[in-house]
Amino acid sequence: MSKLLKLPKVPDAHGHFGSFGGRYVPETLIQALDELEFAYKWLKKNSAFKKDVEHYLTTYVGRPTPLYFAGNLTRHFGHARVYLKREDLCHTGAHKINNTMAQALLAVYLKKKRIVAETGAGQHGVASATAARVFGLDCVVYMGEEDIHRQALNVYKMQILGAEVRPVKSGSRTLKDATNEAIRDWVTNVNSTHYLLGSCVGPHPYPMIVRDFQSVIGRETRRQFLKLTGRLPNYLMACVGGGSNSIGFFYPFLRDRVNMIGVEAAGEGLNTHHHAATMAKGVPGVLHGMKSLLLQDSDGQVELAHSISAGLDYPSVGPEHAWLKEKKRVTYVSATDSEAMRAFHLLTKEEGIMPAIESAHALAYLEKLLPKTKSTESVIICLSGRGDKDIEIVRKWDQQS
């Protein structure tokens, strides 16, 4: 193996990733964040907790997930070998459950009886409601009224799982407002409640906690690929909304000589107002308790993101990604709605795997990346979720085009 890259350890003691991250929250929450950070640092080294997490990941979530050599897809492009890390095979259909099971356990260790969560597409909501069942916790999920209409199936799933889905009618009535509302609930019920944040965003220590809990993806991938080929891959690729699957996938490789590409949603195009390309178009700002790149207007009001994939539809991004971009350690690119839909069909046709539209964004970049690669090289894509939830959107898209 080649020499390790030098990269400082982040976040620092105050939760900063360079100039990003931190804690921009009302004073009432500082104590709770301090407690959470303290407890987490202790539990991280606690063998009973670690064993518990591992137990549930193995026997309940279905880990390790397979690393699949996509032979047909490789032949289709005729360059580097393409592998898929199959997070779509996790229980509930996406990587989200890695984090919700671990954080729900954290809540149990913290003796909290109630969890609140935000959700956009409903995947994190379903994964939270699921974890709440396992550990006997009350679960309230905040979801924008708009999203409730768009994702009726997931709303019903959460309800069957015993969660209370609270419609959010403020602001744009989408994920960003659901996040505000979940934080407001937490401020109000901070003694009894753990806020189960679903992405590597928010105030410190959340970006760190979610990254650590999702890093199981990258650790497994690294081990599996080394065992399979005896070396490291040349490229890793993953989609970036808030950035939880990508940070979990990238993190264990950050000091390796491996190229990493994060693909964000370009929606209808970077030159329109309908995209979620925070990395390409955002400027530093503060939202949801963190400083990161943020889509905003000339007055500093937060702008709405747009993507055909509800899971990428977020106007900011995890602060560690903003930092990795600044450090030039990860390259961030984008894929449009139509490129992602094309990739959805390509993977379905070639490999019989229907990806979540989120993950299809990462796949979409293959057609740009692969022509530049050699057949001796290899690319691993994090297939963060399965497409079952998106079939209705795909059907409508196909009818229109």
Binding site: R23, Y24, E27, T28, G171, N180, R184, V283, V286, V302
Partner: protein, 265 residues
């Protein structure tokens, strides 16, 4: 006016034996004209501090009432520059009530901290309150404010430990805003029982005036709080009064005048 002069202004009022009344108003709710006349009215009635709330798309610390006012103003196209213009105008008209720029942090960093502070100073603001900027974040805001003689108002919450209180107080000027409860802004029927003990704890640590806000909504609550605190901050209940159209027929004026009198005792 310098940071010290707001403090001494507030302290001399307290010395004369009366408590402080602070009113929160949302810029542009329900119109810029109404905000203008409302601040003139508050000044005339003897209000001690006005917090001018800048509408923001994601008001994390606010409950439904102020959220709605904020959204309403944004829909009408209100933007931060109008706060500077308005206060400049008010100062020219001879309005002297201290005015605090109450804004979430993002519009401030977007405008630029130095530029914001310079504009605040020029417009005639007295200080800044940023509900999502705890003193731990070493932003240049407090430094720049101090250099310009403006106050940074900080919050202390029911969950703030004593050690932390000291840290916050060391970085505070003007007055201390005690958040009366866990939660967001809004009307509450009953006051938390621990407010008194907390306010007394803070007062044991600082000579700065300590005002209580978040959920103060009735004259009884004002009287109760003023038994131990230096004054009250009212927001949501005023916004509700504006919303229900109390602006007409002078009933808002009667309400405000009653609240100010109750507070001043």
């Amino acid at each position: 006016m310098s940071a010290k002069s707001l403090e001494s202004k507030l302290k001399s009022k307290l010395k004369s034996g009366r408590k402080l009344f602070c009113a929160f108003v949302t810029l542009g709710y329900k119109s810029l004209g109404q905000t203008h006349s409302l601040i003139r009215l508050l000044d005339r009635l003897g209000t001690d501090i006005v917090e001018l709330g800048i509408p923001f798309s994601d008001p994390l610390a606010d409950g439904p009432v102020i959220q709605e006012a904020s959204e309403y103003a944004l829909r009408k196209g209100v933007h931060p520059q109008q706060a500077f213009d308005l206060v400049k105008q008010l100062r020219m008209e001879g309005v002297t009530v201290p005015i605090i720029f109450f804004s979430y942090f993002n519009p401030i960093i977007h405008r630029g901290i130095s530029r914001t502070v310079k504009d605040l100073k020029q417009a005639g603001f007295d200080g800044v309150l940023c509900p999502d900027l705890p003193p731990d974040e070493h932003e240049n805001l407090s430094k720049e404010l101090l250099r310009s003689g403006l106050c940074q108002i900080n919050l202390i919450a029911p969950t703030t430990s004593k050690t932390r209180m000291k840290k916050i107080i060391a970085k505070s000027h003007g007055f201390i805003y005690y958040v009366s409860r866990r939660g967001v802004t809004g009307v509450q029927k009953k006051l938390d029982e621990e407010i008194r003990a907390k306010v007394e704890e803070i007062k044991g640590l600082t000579k700065l005036p300590v005002l209580v806000g978040f959920g103060v909504s009735s004259e009884d609550q004002i009287r109760e709080i003023n038994r131990y605190a230096d004054g009250v901050i009212m927001g949501s209940s005023l916004i509700s009064a504006i919303k229900s159209g109390s602006g007409r027929n002078g009933s808002l004026e009667r309400l405000l005048s009653r609240l100010v009198k109750t507070c001043h005792g």
